[in-house]
């Protein structure tokens, strides 16, 4: 994918404009947010969109895509792509349900095993990409099918319902907590998980040596290798992280929906990629940020919410969403570059 790239920026004095543009995905978010307030339906003088529980809903609704998109950001930063995340989410949702309900495992071992499965699955895809050198698009396209097939087989093809309790065929009540709301019943736990993941990722990318390697691999793989960056290890680690986070999202998904179904997460990969790209990360690799991705995910969430609150016809919604995605991506192109 060699679509035009912004190669070299002259940075003698970082102008106000340049600084603004650094945060433009946030501006896109603010623009959509303001538009949402303006177009929000009102009931009894109250602007429905900004009501506390609606906002909580918005963030809860994007928390899974958000968690996945953080992992996707890593993968895209090294110039790869991961189409398997939605299927891995489904696999993890099924895994959580089957282990806790059908196999009567405890909370911790189940969660650990499910996360480990995501990690290993991602790492294997990393191996195929980094060591055999198959393009990640293809590896993860195959990974998607494999994960989906495994989920179907593991679940017996049916959604596995999760009931809570201490009896047999019941999941531990500690697991249910993950789906609850806290801080006065306002902030859903999934939102907190998303926030923790996002903040951890931002900090990690800022301070770790690993992150330098990651950006270098995405920026110029050959140069990175010759500079002594452990390219293969970085790639495997990144795909493993992405698989791990998709798994985490799957656990969150299962607990929110009280079941694990092998059809969970179909198409989530495209939403996650859209969030990453709207957030200003280049599909060519080497530049981008998790903060942008979070803004991108929230933008999509607000957009979905305001369209739904206004009961826009679902077909028209498809058109509007397509146009907004293009507009948001076009905004990225407005950067002051050569």
């Amino acid at each position: 994918m060699t679509d035009v790239q912004d190669k070299v920026v002259t940075t003698e004095k970082p102008s106000v404009v340049a600084t603004l543009f650094r945060f433009q995905s946030v501006f896109g978010l603010i623009a959509v947010f303001v538009a949402a307030i303006i177009f929000s339906p009102r009931k009894n003088g109250e602007i429905l969109f900004v009501s506390a529980d609606n906002l909580a809903n918005v963030v809860r609704a994007v928390s899974e895509i958000g968690i996945i998109a953080v992992g996707m950001t890593f993968v895209i930063l090294i110039g790869g792509i991961d189409l398997s995340v939605g299927a891995v989410l489904g696999l993890a949702a099924v895994g959580s349900a089957v282990l806790m309900v059908e196999n009567d495992w405890g909370f911790l071992p189940s969660v650990v095993l499910v996360l480990a499965i995501g990690l290993v699955f991602g790492a294997l895809q990393g191996v195929a990409t980094a060591m055999i050198g198959i393009q990640s698009f293809i590896v993860t396209l195959a990974g998607l099918q494999i994960a989906r097939g495994l989920a179907r087989i593991w679940s017996g093809g049916q959604g596995v319902a999760i009931a809570y309790g201490d009896g047999p065929k019941e999941a531990p009540t500690s697991f249910a907590l993950l789906g609850e709301r806290t801080f006065g019943g306002l902030v859903p736990i999934p939102v907190i998980i998303f926030a923790v993941v996002a903040i951890a990722a931002v900090v990690f990318l800022r301070v770790s040596a690993f992150s330098r390697h990651l950006y270098a691999v995405g920026g110029n793989e050959k140069a990175a290798r010759l500079s002594g960056v452990p390219v293969v290890r970085v790639k495997i680690a990144v795909f493993a992280i992405c698989g791990l986070l998709a798994s985490l999202a799957g656990i969150v998904h299962a607990v929110q929906l009280n079941q694990g179904s092998p059809n969970d997460g179909i198409g989530y990969e495209l939403d996650a990629i859209a969030a990453v790209v709207i957030g200003g990360t280049s599909l060519a690799g080497g530049r981008g940020s998790v903060a942008g991705t979070v803004a991108g995910a929230l933008l999509l969430g607000v957009l979905n919410n305001i369209l739904a609150l206004n009961n826009i016809d679902s077909n028209i919604q498809l058109l509007i969403k397509g146009l907004v995605i293009v507009a948001a991506a076009a905004l990225q192109r407005l950067r002051p570059t050569s």
């Binding site: 190669k7 940075t11 500079s227 002594g228 452990p230």
Partner: protein, 517 residues
């Protein structure tokens, strides 16, 4: 020489890139049948000026007239239609297309039914290549060619345009002297048929040989214009840099220490041989600490491949022979292992294999030595900045801020960043592949000075270069490679460029299989 009239007249040309004034009020005149050298330090604005003339850069101040007619090009196609062709500094070829397809890209020869006339293109490409002195199969994909061969293809491509104005932006940076001589023959031929040629090069010795006139740019402005045959190299250099440059080449005293690297009959048999690659086929040599050993050879002699093999990045295959580092045998496995053992490598093509152009100077400098700036995988930003600043000072890097993108630096300064990155790893042995390609004389002098300093501290250097004056001037000893074998070894104290060249070409060379001292 044909009578000169103003084939090209550029008046008051100006171009800004953000805060950088690449060209400022430049007046430039080129006559028919004239070879006009354009000189200047890295970043002086030479390429920018010529990109404006060739229609690549379309937004600029000032005016251009061709044969007295004012023109304003909206793209390279316009310029080509007006008879202006340019050989770009960065080799802009399409790797997947054949040599012939590349030469005729954008103006393919057609048959009567408008399809591509492949056979005629191949025939004409072969003729063009023969004319510029290479026998390349025109059907080979350009991606498989060596840098030097690619440069010859771009030259053939430019010549094929039958232009009235031919701009050559560093056409010889990857060529060795014999190919350069052939090119000069072509240039003379073109000049005699009335073509106006702009010739940009950092190799001073070439200027006096081909140019009728020379213009020097500094910081985007013209500083002087003169007849190069009437000035000495030192005077030309002074005009470019703005101050006298005393010693171009360091003359290191051969105060060398213990044996650092010993290569014995090294052979690499690639598992999947690639056409045009010249893997080591029996190379022996030694490098002592404090010694700078040169690697000479013609295009495709196997210098790059030797350095890649030593650094452990050559393609897989069976390696025979021995490599000893400080007396201990090593098996090069890759950059990480090499760096850990104290071997650093500066690759030939800094843009493709050296830098992440859109990342900061800081990030590019420290990437090889990250673990030393913090613990537990967390980077201490202050340490990292300090190291980077230290290196920038030491190399006299010309830059704005450490956060600036490396791609905005001039070529020579980019080279220093790759260089500095390796120095931060504190190597014992540095493998340098054409480290001064496209670097201006001033910066070259600094790099040489630095090499001398490092050698004095006990570093060993293996330096591959196509520039004979550089090899003779900088190295203590030069090993000549031909067809993947070492064929001669000279001490620079008692041998000159002529002998090196003769050995490289295989004419009456001393056959010295042992290599070593």
């Amino acid at each position: 020489m044909a009578e000169s009239f103003d084939l090209v007249r550029m008046v008051g040309i100006g171009k800004r890139y953000g805060g950088v004034q690449a060209c400022h009020e430049v007046d430039f005149v080129l006559g028919a049948g004239e070879v006009h050298a354009l000189l200047g330090e890295n970043g002086a604005g030479k390429s920018t000026l010529m990109k404006i003339l060739s229609g690549d850069v379309t937004e600029y101040a000032g005016s251009i007239a061709i044969n007295g007619t004012p023109v304003r090009f909206s793209g390279p196609t316009d310029a080509q239609a007006a008879g202006i062709a340019m050989i770009h500094q960065e080799l802009d070829l399409v790797p997947g297309l054949s040599v012939a397809d590349n030469i005729f890209l954008g103006r393919e020869l057609r048959t009567t039914v408008r399809t591509v006339d492949r056979r005629r293109m191949e025939r004409e490409a072969r003729e063009l290549l023969d004319r510029s002195g290479v026998s390349l199969d025109p059907r080979r994909p350009v991606g498989e060619l060596r840098v030097g061969e690619q440069q010859l293809v771009t030259i053939a491509k430019a010549i094929s345009l039958d232009a009235r104005v031919l701009i050559m932006d560093e056409p010889t940076s990857a060529l060795t002297s014999s190919e350069v001589e052939r090119l000069f023959d072509v240039i003379r031929e073109l000049r005699n048929s009335g073509v106006g040629i702009v010739y940009i090069s950092h190799r001073m010795e070439e200027i006096a040989k081909v140019a009728d006139r020379a213009t020097v740019l500094r910081n985007g402005k013209i500083v002087t214009s003169f007849d190069p045959r009437k000035l000495s190299t030192a005077e030309v250099v002074e005009a470019m840099v703005g101050r006298p440059v005393q010693t171009m080449f360091t003359t290191p005293d051969s105060d060398t220490g213990d044996e650092l690297l010993r290569v014995e009959n090294l052979k690499l048999k690639a598992r999947r041989p690639r056409p045009g690659r010249r893997d080591p086929d029996g190379i022996s040599l030694t490098v002592r600490s404090g010694e700078i050993v040169g690697l000479a050879g013609l295009l495709g002699a196997g210098r790059t491949e030797l350095l890649e093999t030593l650094y452990g990045v050559a393609p897989g295959g069976t390696r025979t022979g021995r490599i000893l580092l400080q007396g201990k045998p090593i098996q090069p496995r890759g950059p990480r292992q090499a760096l850990a053992q104290g071997i650093g490598f500066v690759p030939e093509d800094r843009r493709a294999s050296g830098l992440v152009l859109f990342h900061s100077i800081l990030a590019n400098t420290v990437v090889s030595s990250l673990p030393s700036y913090g613990r537990l995988g967390v980077i201490a930003r202050r340490m990292e900045r300090a190291a980077s600043t230290r290196m920038a000072d030491r190399l006299r890097l010309k830059f704005g801020r450490l956060q600036d993108e490396v791609g905005t630096l001039s070529g020579g300064n980019q080279q220093k960043v790759v260089f500095g990155r390796m120095l931060l790893t504190e190597p014992k042995l540095l493998l340098l592949d054409e480290p001064t390609r496209g670097v201006d004389v001033g910066a070259k002098a600094e790099i040489y000075r630095l090499l001398g300093e490092l050698a004095a501290q006990g570093l060993g250097v293996l330096l591959a270069s196509s520039e004979l004056p550089e090899l003779v001037g900088v190295c203590d000893r030069v090993v000549v490679l031909r067809d993947g074998r070492d064929v001669a070894s000279f001490s620079t104290a008692d041998s000159g460029e002529g002998e090196l060249l003769a050995a490289a070409m295989g004419q009456g060379a001393v056959f010295d299989e042992v290599g070593g001292v």
